[in-house]
Point group: C2
Chain length 243, copies 2
């Protein structure tokens, strides 16, 4: 793990790093000492580790709860090199969606392919970040919407160090199968008028989680309209389970 | 409005009152002075104004947020005299449910009948309670599950002084019609495995609310299994809209 920059503002320290080929960012309270809960945040499709939503949420989690938050660029996103194969598949998917094929199924297929790589990446990042003195091996949560859910759910299902997850804005039979292997407390966010994810598929994913504690939060609006108060609510969910 | 008793414990004052024929209870912070948000709480069927759930929730809202909370006995409940007609209808409903008739429709019919009386009762109680110096005419919220939703939704729809509502554990086409007349922010609580309310009817009610801000919270479990953390979440919802 190699740190490439460090800045602090408003009580939050931001450290950019690379771990092998993975570019990442870690936010912690300024002058943090000792072990704390860690939230891993997976960004959405076409976004990156410092997309505005990720950045605002991470800074809030650090400032309000003293958590550490880490985000990485997904393959073919952010600072990572273009992946010809993924690029070709994404382009092909867009054409097939335009031609009327089932969007959710195409997206799920792509996510399943990429998750084969990203589960191991998240595991390596988790191990490396928890070795840092100002993070330590405290309880771990995962937050990811849309592609961050499609790639994150397989990670949550596979990784016993993750103790709670906020997922959402994604639905497919494949995701429901993954959800059935998740047993930690889950908050699942649905946009009631999501133009990309059929409502019934979202509800089926919620139904499938094997978690004893799972809560569905549905709000009106489209895929990109997740209300601001769900961020505060996610923080309280993590605080309840990880603090 | 006539007060019949006053006690205080753990910083919360409880005053029993009657307003005409309506027995009620008001909880406020001990030594409260001046205007504050007021939450009206409607109890479930077979319960009463001081049922354990109402009492615990009211005391939490007062102690944590400084709100005033009022609850009244619904007709044919608590300290109110037995209503022969309602009693006969409830008994008849139980027999018809046992015979396989649609439970939701029978319950909705009964609630519609009783709401004709209780909307005016809640309005009178609201007016009387807001005349008290230690409550005043601050913003008003309504909280009611099950029968407290069936009777409360028509009140919220009819009463412009109510600015936010937490409703749930009820679903029927009649309730959906009422929901379509509600425009204030709504939190709607659903038990995913509710043995009394069909899931599709609950979702249809959520769909019907005309509110720009409405959030569905669904949790696993039966009608009586609403998780404790939804009480904290309801308090934050009211604090966001009424404080």
């Amino acid at each position: 793990m190699r740190f490439t920059s460090q800045t602090s503002s408003d009580g939050v320290t931001e450290q950019l790093f690379t771990l092998g080929e993975i570019p990442g960012v870690l936010w912690t309270p300024e002058d943090a000492l000792g072990t704390r809960p860690l939230i891993l945040m997976g960004h959405g499709g076409g976004q990156h580790k410092k997309a505005p939503g990720i950045l605002a949420r991470a800074r809030l989690f650090v400032a309000e709860a003293g958590f550490a938050v880490a985000a990485i660029d997904a393959p073919n996103h952010g600072e990572r090199p273009k992946d010809e194969e993924l690029d070709r598949l994404a382009t092909e998917n867009r054409a097939r969606m335009a031609a009327g094929e089932d969007t959710a199924a195409l997206v799920a297929g792509l996510h399943a392919l990429v998750a084969g790589q990203t589960v191991a990446e998240w595991q390596a990042v988790l191990t490396a970040v928890q070795r840092l003195d100002h993070v330590g091996d405290g309880p771990v949560g995962y937050w990811g919407m849309s592609m961050g859910c499609g790639l994150g759910a397989p990670f949550v299902a596979a990784e016993p160090r993750v103790r709670a997850a906020v997922l959402g804005l994604q639905g497919s039979p494949e995701l429901a199968e993954t959800a059935a292997r998740i047993t930690v407390p889950v908050r699942f966010l649905v946009q009631w008028d999501d133009e990309r994810v059929p409502r019934a598929q979202s509800l089926a994913v919620f139904d499938a989680f094997a978690s004893a504690e799972k809560t569905l939060h549905a709000n009106p609006g489209k895929h990109g309209d997740l209300p601001r108060f769900e961020t505060d609510s996610s923080l309280r969910f993590f605080a309840r389970h990880l603090s």
